[in-house]
């Protein structure tokens, strides 16, 4: 499968990128690591006139701990840089765990945190070649008007399959979005729509430039558990991130997020409430697991049955919560 022809735009600075975007808005795709975009372009999921290659923008690369204890991460920081950051591992371990499970080492050397946040939603009926998709009559996410996994609904159920966003949601991360009117900052939890087709709130002339981890999220115990068939390469079939801060054995604060079982990564809102003030034990972990499983709405978008994947959200949540409670 050949790549469609496109014009390659290579800005050196964020402003330049933003002006390129404004000029080509609607007919440009953004390339950060390219690990997802390039195969998708070969499959003709995207045939943009231009590709905006951000890799020359050095200001968007790197992990910067701020004096306050907060951290700023450039969107172009590679997942392997995050995985290997001693600082993040010490203060925001859930993020390094999440980053370390993405794909394979080679892909983590290319893939970026910004790309993982913006990762296109995935479905067996969507991530296929043009020829294949013709055979199934296309789907609602691309070129068609039918959802093959949940017909009747006109909604796209492609699953969001990033590994770092659940961790970032647990850390109350914010993202900086640059556009023609300057930069704005929103909480990551506001970033996703919950619809598989238009899965993120990002205008055609905007791009994600930075991620912020607030100082208040530092030094939580954090665990990420990922369901996959193989120990490497695979996207998550279900994923659970949990962070816990304890005081005298009781949970002082906790957050839990799930991924790959909905069109968006989701904070399980009531999980924190259930955990705060308690001592974590098997029964409590079980109850949180049930809650997380109820939040998950997997459909047949990937390998393994939806029933099983939801069941694993329950098991993995229980395990993650128990692991986070271990001293």
């Amino acid at each position: 499968m050949s790549l469609p022809q496109f014009k390659l735009l290579r800005p050196r600075a964020t402003d330049e990128a933003v002006s390129f975007l404004a000029k080509h808005a609607g007919n440009v795709r953004i390339l950060a690591g390219g690990t997802d975009l390039i195969p998708s372009m070969r499959q003709k999921l995207f045939e943009p006139e231009s590709v905006l290659d951000l890799r020359g923008i050095t200001e968007l690369r790197g992990i910067r701990p701020l004096a306050s204890g907060a951290v700023e991460i450039g969107a172009l920081t590679t997942l392997s840089a995050i995985e290997r950051s001693a600082y993040l591992r010490q203060h925001f371990p859930v993020l390094t765990e999440g980053a370390a499970t993405v794909a394979s080492p080679v892909l983590r050397n290319m893939g970026t945190i910004g790309g993982n946040i913006c990762l296109d939603t995935r479905c067996l009926w969507y991530n296929q070649s043009l020829t294949w998709r013709k055979g199934c009559g296309f789907c609602i996410k691309k070129d068609g008007n039918l959802c093959h996994v949940a017909p009747g609904g006109s909604k796209c159920w492609a699953a969001f399959s990033g590994d770092t966003p659940p961790a970032l949601l647990c850390l109350n991360a914010e993202v900086e979005i640059a556009g023609p009117n300057g930069a704005r900052r929103i909480a990551l939890r506001e970033f996703y729509t919950g619809d598989g087709e238009n899965y993120r709130k990002l205008e055609a002339n905007e791009l994600v430039t930075r991620v912020f981890l607030p100082e208040a999220s530092a030094d939580y115990r954090g665990i990420y558990r990922k369901l996959r068939v193989r120990g490497s390469i695979d996207y998550p079939l279900a994923g659970v991130a949990v962070v816990v801060k304890r005081l005298n054995g009781h949970v002082a604060d906790a957050r839990l997020a799930i991924t790959a079982v909905n069109p968006a990564p989701l904070l399980v809102q009531r999980a924190g409430e259930m955990l705060i003030g308690k001592i974590i034990d098997e029964a409590l972990a079980d109850a949180v697991g049930d809650l997380a499983a109820r939040t998950a709405k997997p459909l047949t978008t990937s390998a393994l049955t939806p029933e099983y994947r939801r069941e694993m959200i329950r098991v993995f949540t229980k395990r993650a919560v128990l692991a986070a409670a271990r001293p």
Binding site: Q128, K134, H148, L227, S232, T300
Partner: protein
Amino acid sequence: MNNNFSIIGKPTAMIDAAEKTTGAGKYTDDLSVPGMLAGKILHSPYPHARIKRIDTSRAEKLEGVVAVVVGKDAPNPYGILPVGHDEHALAFDKVRYVGDNVACVVAVSEAIAEKAMELVDVEYEVLPAYFDPEESMKAQSDLIHDNKPGNLEKDYHHAFGDPDKGFAEAVHVAEARFIANEVTHAAMEPHSTLASFELDPHTGKLGRLTVWSSTQVPYYLQHKLSLVLEMPMSQIRVIKPLVGGGFGGKSEVIPLEIIAAVAARKAQAPVKITYTREEVFWAHRGRPRTIIDLKTGIKSDGRITSVKARVVQDGGAYCSYGVVTILYSGALLGALYDIPNIQYDGYRVLTNKPACGAMRGHGTVNVRFAFESQLDELAAKAGIDSAEIRQRNLLMPPCITVNGLRVQSYGLPECIEKTVERSGWKRRKGKLPKGRGLGIACSHYVSGAANSIIRSDMPHSTVNIKIDRDGGVVVYTGASEIGQGSDTMTAQVAAEMLGCSLSRVRVIAADTDLTPIDIGSYSSRVTFMAGNATLRAAEDVKKRIAAAAAKKMNCPAEELVFRDDLVFKKGSVPPVVKKDQAEEVEVTQAGASVSGRVEGQILRGSLQQKRKDEGPKEWMTFEEAVVAAIDFHGALTGTGSYAPPQEARGGKHKGAGVGPSPAYSYSAQVAEVSLDEETGEVTVHKVWAAHDCGRALNPVSVEGQIIGSVWMGMGQALTEEMVWKDGMLMNPGMLEYRSPSSVESPEIEPIIVESIDPEGPFGAKECSEGSLAATIPAIANAIYDAVGVRLHESPFTPERVLAALRAKNNSKRLNLTEGVDPTAPARFREHGGSLCFKGKGPERHALDPARREAPAAARGAD
């Protein structure tokens, strides 16, 4: 035991290793010839449809498009089996699976060809399609092939001994249905073919055709090209460059190989086509989804009295190797254990899916999974240890099995013994912590089919050897190196027989203009057959050298010994070779630099000069002997060939031609696994794999093959499965078709068992297929040992294991598709049951069997 050999039996690096590891080696897709065009194949979007009209005019008008090829450009049907000529280069009247080949666009670039493909207008009349073989067999109309009533490609019904009497004698009987889901080869190199015509010097029109292709069977390709293109075989040259793995997926003529040649003819220019990974999945020819209804009876001492198997294979839309596959499934119930009575009913069924074909362990693997699982069940019933019950059912070779297979060398007893010993079986079986278990299983495979696909009396392998004046040995063999070590084996056998160093031997292989006929790399035949042919060719040429050397040395030729680049009189102490020369030989053997080799030659040359006028000698160098022979005979060449002996060619019943082999390899394996009982995830910790390969010509290569077989078997056991929905292959890529990664690879301890076959070259048998089949049941049996769950459907994905565990524990039920219980699968499901597609799926014909049932209520997982 190997001390008598100087080359074989020693771990030897593959002779093409440098090319492959440095990236210098050329695979077909690396090749390019001047004026070469790119070909792209348009595939069918429908599983079953009549082509009413193809209009290529819009595509042809696109700038850069040179030709558009359609079915009528090559109307002759072909197929790998003489009984299965049911394929066309491009669809002639009908398409029969999603991905079937409709047209081929030839253009100056791949991108333009892809664009033009979208401009080919095809009008289809959609027909009802068949996806479930048991449904397909009931078809009355809209047959997949008009000449195959009931969509039945072939069925066989064999009874050997008296199966019913056997069951009457049995004390314990087990009967169950097993389902093995569909898997594919997933070779690293996608198929690629480059076809180029020369101009005929007399007419100026297109003349000879040269085809470079990623194939395991250059000679069969040449044969089929001749059939389709209506050209004499001598006008077609097939060259096999480096091949990046075959596993059976390149052991027949794959559509692109014919299409490229037809396209090159129409475009009047060289055309290269390389499949995308998705196209590789559509070309497929992998292991069919198989339903096995198996019944086995044993006496109270564990002796098998009778076996009855009904096997249904979901063969896909074309015959391919199907007739052979369904026969192997029955025939290879024999030759592993002593089974007095066998009944076999095999059905190869056509469905609207890509054709299945030969895949590593061709025909045996799925039935072996069922049989070894059931034997384990029976052992438990009879209270006999699982290893012990296998030892009680051994053959007593030399013998001929009840279904006519001749068994001579038989290393199975030692294989079982060694795996039991190394794995600590007696000490540990049944005593591991909860959730951890050990399982044992055995398997075997042919060392080459005793009967060729194309019926003829032609030898299966022929090898020529030419020796140059400086002692360089060139072996011409049609055997196809596909990564398995064929070329290295050839060089080793020639060097051993000629007593020269390995570095002298150059192998020219698989080029139909240069190399004599060899029927290819399939059915694990190369070491045994091409090895024997090489041995005989080397013997032939050695005789000539010996005659000349004997004259010089004044002794009978029979008294000469060839070894270590020397020729000396038998019984005489080999002369003390000049130290520097001996070192030089050592060094080249390990792969020394070119300059080292040249220096060695000069050195040896001067040595020759010095010794020229000396009288009769006690010894000569290899070169001196070669020079003497060339001075005497002129060109120094030899030929050898191999045909399996008549007594190894099997019985007389219908279908008796498949299964017989001059020798069988044997394998026993113990797997240690653990289970996560909450998630159903299975971890394989270690596999002890003993394999009887007759004699290990290259132990490191044998070990590699054993490890590779176990690893590939583990993929089929745990993660690999082709998933279907209404004829759409849902996972046509390496991301969603999950071959294990290095992370899942367990420690594998290969154990080489050498039974020294009386007919194999130096006693060698096959080593690359026989081990695979044991891995799947070894893992299944280990799962049973760990948690008491008997899985009857492969692969043992976490959800299947969990569903089975929950069913056993009566805990909360985990619904798989249609409430299937993986411990007792009853019905065949199109999508294998690992995924439940509740969606509408693609548009299909209203009469599709898949559409007859009301679709499940559309809803989410909750």
